[in-house]
Symmetry: C2
DNA sequence: TGTACATCAGTGAACGCGCGTTCACTGATGTAC
DNA sequence: TGTACATCAGTGAACGCGCGTTCACTGATGTAC
C-alpha cells in the first residue's frame, strides 16, 4: 500500500529505516542526513520535521539497531528447545555465537548500537542486565536454567552475568576490529564453560 | 633545544604528537589535519611531506597510542614486585585494572587504538598474544607465573589468555560506552579469579 | 674562507566539495458548516 | 454534496562552513670546490 509521493506514510520511521541501511553499508561516520533523505527521494529539510538534528536521527537509528540485535538474540535463544541439560547449555552457546556473529556480519550496525551514539544512562544498580535490553534478559534466563538444572553452582551463577557478558562482548569487538581471529571463538566458549565449572569440576 | 620556526626538528613526530593530543581531547572523528597543523603553527600542506593523507597520520597516531597503552600496562605490571603468590595474583589484577582504567581515563585514545583505524593484519596463529603488543606479553607472563606457582591448574592456564583478554577488553569497552557501571569491575575481577579456579577449587 | 648550487622543508593561496541547517514557501488533507 | 479554511507535510533555494588536498613557490641548509 505505497502512498503517493507527496505525503509519506510515516517519514520518521522511513528515515530511521533508510539511515539504518546506510549505516549498515558504509558506517555511521559516513552517513549524511542529506544522503538518507535522498534515498527516500525526499528533501533534506523534511527530516527536520521529525528530528531536531542529525544526531537525533542517528540516535534513533541506534535504538532501532539495538532492537534488531535483540531480535537476533531471541531467535538464537529460541532456536533450541527443550529443558534438558544439553538444550540449556546449547542455549547459552547459541546466545554467545549470535552475539559474536552479529558483530562480525554487521560491523557497522554493531558499532552504532554499542558505540558512543547510544549512551543509555545507567541506573543505580551497578549491573542490571534486564535494563540492557532483550539480550540481557535472555542471558539471565539461560544462566538461571543452568543453575536450576544443577549444571552450574550458585557461586558460578553469581559470576555468570558479568563474566559472560564481558567476555562475549570483548571477543565480539576484538574480532570486529581485527585484533583477534574468529578461530578463537571456540576457545572462548570452552573457556566460559570451564569458567562456569560446567565440566563437572563442581559435583 | 627548540629549533627556529622554519625548519622543524622532526615534523613527522611532532604531527603525530599533536594529533594524539587532539584525539585525546576531542576524539579521532573530530580531528582535522588542518587543526593539527595549526597547533604546530605549520601550514596544512606541510603534513603531506610526511604522510600521504589524513588517514595515514591518524594511523600513525593510533600506533603511538598503542605504544602508550603498552607502557601503562608495563608500569602496572612492574608496580608489584615479588614472586610470591600474592604478588603474582596482584600482577594479574593490576593489569586488568590498568587496562580498564586506560579506557575510562582516555576514552578517545582507547577507541583510536582499538578501533577500526589500527587494523593489524592477523597472522596464521589464531591467537598469538605476543603479537598483540606489550600488553599481550605481560598477560602471558602473569599467567605463566600463576601456573608455575601452582595457583592455577594447566587447564585453567590454557583458557586464561582468551578469557582474560576478552573479559577485560569487554568490560573496558562496556564501561567506556556507558553500558555498564564501573562498579562492576570488582565483580569481574572476582569472576576471573573464580574462572581460573584461583579460589582453591583446584587442589 | 667564500661562493654556487642542489636539495630539503616549509609556505600560502586556491580548488572543489559535501555537509548541516534555515527559511519562506506551497501542495495536500481533512474537517466544519 | 459542496465549499472555505486551518493544519499538516513536504519543497527547494540558499547560507556559511570547514575540510582534504593540490600546486607552484620560496626560504633555509649543507656540501663541493
Amino acid at each position: 500500500m505505497t502512498k503517493d509521493p507527496y505525503h509519506h506514510g510515516d517519514l520518521a520511521a522511513a528515515l530511521v529505516g533508510a539511515a539504518l541501511e546506510e549505516v549498515r553499508q558504509v558506517g555511521a561516520e559516513k552517513v549524511s542526513l542529506r544522503g538518507v533523505a535522498a534515498t527516500l527521494k525526499v528533501s533534506p529539510s523534511a527530516a527536520y520535521h521529525y528530528f531536531p538534528d542529525k544526531d537525533a536521527l542517528l540516535g534513533a537509528t541506534g535504538g532501532a539497531v539495538f532492537e534488531l540485535f535483540g531480535q537476533r538474540m531471541q531467535e538464537a535463544f529460541e532456536s533450541i528447545s527443550g529443558d534438558g541439560r544439553q538444550a540449556v547449555e546449547g542455549r547459552l552457546s547459541a546466545l554467545a555465537m549470535a552475539y559474536i556473529n552479529f558483530a562480525r556480519d554487521e560491523p557497522h550496525l554493531f558499532r552504532l548500537a554499542f558505540g558512543a551514539y547510544c549512551v543509555t544512562p545507567i541506573g543505580d544498580k551497578f549491573m542490571d542486565l534486564s535494563e540492557a535490553g532483550l539480550a540481557g534478559t535472555l542471558l539471565i534466563r539461560a544462566l538461571d536454567d543452568l543453575q536450576r538444572l544443577g549444571v552450574i553452582a550458585p557461586e558460578a551463577r553469581q559470576h555468570g552475568e558479568v563474566l559472560c557478558w564481558s567476555a562475549v562482548h570483548g571477543m565480539a569487538t576484538l574480532i570486529l576490529e581485527g585484533h583477534i581471529s574468529e578461530l578463537a571463538v571456540p576457545a572462548l566458549l570452552d573457556a566460559i564453560r570451564f569458567a562456569l565449572a560446567m565440566d563437572g569440576k563442581v559435583a
